[in-house]
């Protein structure tokens, strides 16, 4: 008990001092932190990261609309199959049948089947986005039955792969869109297979954020169908006039130019009507195509289609060859602004839906920090006072260990880069109560041993030794609960699990090693004749 290697004492003190140094920057205001880290950039300094519930901000989870992805895959597959059959000039009976997860076609001739089967097997499902890197042959299942029926199904793996890649691309698009809002340090990351988490600290106007995030922004330039056009090449789309839906309009399925051929889009005002508009510029390919198409169709109506809705359908008065143009659609200034952000950032590869939103205003965040601080101070005061009046000088040791324990938790949070949330603060306050448990176990055991007639030194020794097994068992069970919370919880609850788990790990160091050290030093210098508890 008395023997405590000097290196042990030194390392315990060193670790405690380091922990205190790590947490110091978090007490500075942001401006102080910035100026100090600038003048002393060699210092690895970090401030504690506050969760969105404390600093305020928006948390939005988007999900790729998988049925929509599958629908697009099936439609593209049908086009591909049709192309293959045409190229090989193969006769089919009936049309190409669309199924929920694939297509089927009847090819009566056995020779024909032998001709097309290898080509069909090489097809890959695409969502029509040429930017996609294509993985050959994966994701399709082609079966052929003797009666001439060929079935091409999209496998589960094919769909998952497509959804996964759609999420990857959408993260890039969403980042460009959020950056355009001019906010600081948005966090955009994948969640599971089909979800994206967007966290924007400090953002207030969630209506705008949600509009910017939730819009696919697929822009197409097509022609308005002329009377008597082939019905299979025409579709009926809603006509959007300003915010109101104004009937429907017949539009050709063929797409003249797509949004991906835009290089720039800026909000502006029409010079004649001073109505808000969006000015855009095509890339070379888009400019050429648009120029040719308009030159051949002077006098016709063309349609600007955004996410399946016609936003305007102007008449082509003269060929538009300059590679730029404007979209007018009875926008408000704000709408024109948003649309140009969306067009610049590009379209989402698939439709995405907002499935969860949590926004905390900065006022509430600050209130929560204040409330958390107040609860922590009061809790600490009560626990420290209670330990002091119960254990006297040993209570002082326990309280010193408790203070260092709290410093360890904060240092751990900072070093791990974990976020401090309101439940996290609650976890730390709870730890105040639980952390002294180890000390209580030890002290009560020491008392007990002393009552059984042992000497002071021997009571101290066996008190520590015997309490340790109990401490280990009880802390492991708590730690299991914290670990499971961490893996299954989300957001703020995770913050709680981290601070609880860290608290359990450090309590073994502080309550056992540190208290033991303090008591052995005290015994050596005070040479007590009676046990002070």
């Amino acid at each position: 008990m008395l023997r405590f290697a000097p290196w042990k004492v030194a390392s315990v003190i060193l670790v405690s001092v380091l922990a205190l140094l790590v947490i110091v920057p978090s007490f500075w205001s942001e401006s102080t932190f910035k100026s100090i880290s600038k003048s002393a950039s060699w210092l690895p300094m970090r401030q504690i990261v506050l969760g969105l519930d404390l600093q305020g901000g928006a948390h939005v989870v988007l999900e790729v609309d998988t049925p929509d992805v599958v629908r697009t895959m099936v439609a593209n597959l049908r086009d591909d199959v049709r192309r293959v059959l045409r190229e090989e000039k193969v006769a089919i009976s009936g049309g190409i049948g669309m199924q929920p997860r694939g297509v089927q076609v009847r090819v009566p001739g056995a020779d024909d089947r032998a001709k097309v089967m290898p080509k069909l097997r090489r097809l890959t499902p695409t969502t029509g986005n040429t930017l996609l890197g294509q993985v050959g042959g994966q994701g399709l299942e082609v079966t052929e039955s003797p009666d001439g029926l060929i079935q091409i199904g999209i496998t589960e793996a094919g769909v998952t792969d497509k959804v996964r890649r759609a999420v990857d691309q959408s993260i890039e698009v969403l980042r460009r869109r959020v950056d355009a809002l001019g906010t600081t340090e948005p966090n955009i990351q994948r969640q599971g297979v089909d979800r994206v988490l967007v966290q924007v600290p400090g953002l207030q106007d969630t209506a705008k954020l949600k509009e910017i995030l939730g819009t696919t922004a697929k822009l197409e330039f097509r022609f308005v169908a002329e009377p008597g056009a082939n019905p299979s090449e025409v579709e009926t789309l809603p006509n959007k006039d300003g915010d109101a839906e104004a009937g429907t309009i017949q539009i050709e399925k063929r797409v003249m130019v797509q949004g991906e051929d835009l290089t720039d889009a800026q909000p502006g005002f029409d010079q004649r009507t001073s109505e808000p508009i969006v000015n855009f510029r095509f890339n070379i390919r888009g400019g050429q195509r648009f120029g040719e198409a308009t030159a051949q169709n002077v006098g016709r109506l063309f349609a600007i289609v955004l996410d399946g809705k016609v936003i305007s359908a102007p008449r082509i008065l003269s060929p538009i060859t300059g590679g730029s143009g404007q979209i007018s659609g009875r926008f408000t200034v704000e709408q024109a602004n948003n649309l140009s952000i969306l067009l610049r950032a590009g379209a989402l590869p698939a439709k995405m839906t907002i499935i969860e939103e949590r926004t905390v205003g900065p006022g509430l965040g600050q209130d929560s920090i204040d409330a958390g601080k107040r609860a922590a101070y009061v809790g600490a005061f009560l626990v420290i006072g209670y330990m002091l009046i119960t254990y006297g000088v040993f209570g002082i040791f326990a309280n010193i260990a408790l203070a260092i324990h709290i410093a360890f938790i904060f240092a751990g949070l900072i070093l791990l880069g974990a976020t401090l949330t309101l439940p996290g603060i609650a976890g730390i306050v709870l730890t105040l109560g639980l952390a002294v448990d180890s000390n209580v176990l030890i002290y009560e055991r020491i008392r007990e041993e002393h009552h059984l007639g042992r000497s002071i030194i021997s009571s101290l020794d066996s008190g520590f030794n015997r309490a340790f097994a109990t401490i280990l068992d009880s802390q492991v069970t708590m730690f299991v609960a914290a670990a499971i919370l961490y893996f299954l919880g989300s957001g703020p609850v995770r913050g709680f699990a981290v601070s609880l788990g860290l608290g359990i790990l450090t309590t073994i160091v502080t309550a056992v090693t540190m208290t033991r050290m303090m008591i052995s030093l005290w015994y050596r210098y005070a040479r007590p004749t009676r046990l002070p508890i």
């Binding site: 949600k210 939730g214 839906t353 907002i354 499935i355 969860e356 939103e357 949590r358 926004t359 905390v360 205003g361 006022g363 509430l364 929560s368 409330a371 958390g372 609860a375 009061v378 809790g379 009560l382 626990v383 209670y386 330990m387 119960t390 006297g392 309101l422 439940p423 609650a426 306050v429 709870l430 109560g433 639980l434 002294v436 448990d437 209580v440 176990l441 009560e444 041993e449 009552h451 059984l452 007639g453 066996s462 030794n465 015997r466 097994a469 109990t470 068992d473 009880s474 492991v476 069970t477 708590m478 299991v480 609960a481 499971i484 919370l485 299954l488 919880g489 989300s490 703020p492 609850v493």
Partner: protein, 315 residues
Amino acid sequence: MKLLRLAPEKTNFPFMRFRRVSYPFSAFMSIVSVLLFIFIGMNFGIDFAGGTLIELRARTGQADVAQLRALGEHLNLGEIEVQSFGNSSDVTVRFGLQPGGDAAQNAAAEKVKSAVSKDFEVRRVEVVGPRVSGELVQSGTLGVVVAIIAVLAYLWFRFEWQFAVAAVTATMHDLLLTVGFFSATQLEFNTTSIAAILTIVGVSLNETVVVLDRIREVMRKYKKSTIAEIIDMSVNAVLPRTIMTSTTTLLALLALVLFGGNVIRSFSLSMMFGIFVATYSSVFICSPLLIYLGVRDAGVDTGSEAEHKPAKAPA
């Protein structure tokens, strides 16, 4: 200095005899909890039920609760639950899932926000769609079940199986009563409540393990005593610690309840209740169970645990 002692210096309560009272009492309370859960049910927050929660603060004066209630009808959102708390300028508005999937939830939240933005500052908005809430229910339930199984396994490994069964029974008892507490008080049950429940599981086992640890130790020392005597001896020995630790924990939680703010009040209150019950069950439910489980024959006399024995000579 005269030091404070809440527990008498040397106690000798016949705890095991209390089981004739505590078992019927706990059985009764458990049944009441189940009945409360079935017939009243918990007040599930939007995390689990789905829907929208908006916290508002009146820009001037007091919040007009009646005006907010009427909003539900105006905007055709179904029933709107308006709760005022703290000072009278703060209110929360809650309404359930809207028909029409995720997009409809967002539209409804925006409608309410724009309707109240003139008179109120919007302090917090949470919208949870039907799919997310379903998953949160799943992961929450899974978490509690996995935690119990993991701890059962650990205790089995560290103690005899009877100890593990007794500990887990006591923990289930605590969980059941906590669920009853949520049903009776109608405190909102949300994801932080799951955190509270799992912490209660942790604390409950922590309490139980401390008692069981001592029982195992005393059992090796006094081979001739009956199991009831051994348990009484052990519980009395750890009693000062049990009182001390639950007091410090309850003090810390009291600070959270009084000063921690509205957002985590349900969390702190349920935790306080849970810790109280956990302390009770570790003494009155878990330990007596060992008598019925016949721990003597299976574990101690085989000597298989010799390596765990304290090395020191008995006093």
